[in-house]
Symmetry: C2
Subunit: 213 residues, 2 copies
Amino acid sequence: MPADMQATAANDLISPDRREEVLAAAAECFMRRGYEATSMDDVADALGATKGRVYHHFRSKPELFFEVFRRAIFILIREAGVHETGPGHAADRLRRMARAHILCMMETQAFQRNLTLGVDLYRFGETSEEHKATLEDLMNLRRGYEDAFRRTFAAGAADGSMKALDPSLAMRTLLGAINWVAVWYSPRAGETRAHREKLAEEIVAQVLGGYLA
Amino acid sequence: MPADMQATAANDLISPDRREEVLAAAAECFMRRGYEATSMDDVADALGATKGRVYHHFRSKPELFFEVFRRAIFILIREAGVHETGPGHAADRLRRMARAHILCMMETQAFQRNLTLGVDLYRFGETSEEHKATLEDLMNLRRGYEDAFRRTFAAGAADGSMKALDPSLAMRTLLGAINWVAVWYSPRAGETRAHREKLAEEIVAQVLGGYLA
DNA sequence: GTCTATATTATGATAGAC
DNA sequence: GTCTATCATAATATAGAC
């Protein structure tokens, strides 16, 4: 194998991380200023670079956003969705799903905030025909994630660990309460993972158990 | 009194409604496309008019947005906040507040969605010094509205109608669940007020009572 | 892989006719 | 009170040097 081919192979391995840097900077900018208000120069500034670098990794601003969006869902599925299949009653599984979801809202806030943004783009979106297909795929991923909650609510009614509620509505009110964490949460100075886990469990207890005496 | 002065007085009385039209169109556009993505031409198009009309009623785009924001809070305070003082236990009052809040999310969705938008502008916003003061006022109005929920949670712990929870956290999880209604709700064709009231009550029951058996 | 131009287009805001 | 220009600016995206 020639030396330059080896270098190319090495670059292929490194390249994802460079991409990752751009992606993280973009997520942060999109969260702070919103999608439209964020210019490619803003993203470049956040990297301490110029537009050239951003455009080298992502063809366009929409594609950059779509990647942020995709990453946000993948994180949720990997961290929270997996708990759908697990030990215990449906209520126990839902508790673990909600707890993990909340931790994602706190620890990957920048990515998660953009998930809501993308949903609006889809609902009202005046997007090009080309991007519409991509967006459709992403929305299906998200719907799949939501379905895990819907199914768990139905399972809870079946195994008696939860009330018999409309699963779709329950999914929406529960996800609303815990998605909102990404809206108000701000990390405190010197905050530890244990701190966040305690907060997450307090939220889960309030939301699943209700507020009434 | 000369005839033209009378005409001016009449115009003063009519003028608020014309302003209102612009405001409603702006709220709709801001909701659909977001604040930055919405151009003044978009707002004008939604009115079937040109920019001239928009700029006649509002000095600038930020001022237009601030008015949408202010309207959103006023509606919430008038419709839901008033139920803080009312008959019954704290749990009953909270139920009425939540129910009214949800109906606002459904019936003035365009305005309410922009409330969240404005909060972000405040948190991360790079706004001019002049607009910062206006935004500060609006945030205080919103904080005051949230305080009504905080106080009611505390009252519920005191009068025994509700669990003894951290009132600030409870306010956030509850408002999260019911604010989210504005995100997913879409009016059905031929939907009546009674329909929405039934949905609102189902949501209140789920959220206040929790999901566990 | 990153930079420095640069082309092209769209937007916020204003001036002045009607 | 609304319209038709028009200006100034800023942003997306590209081309080409290094």
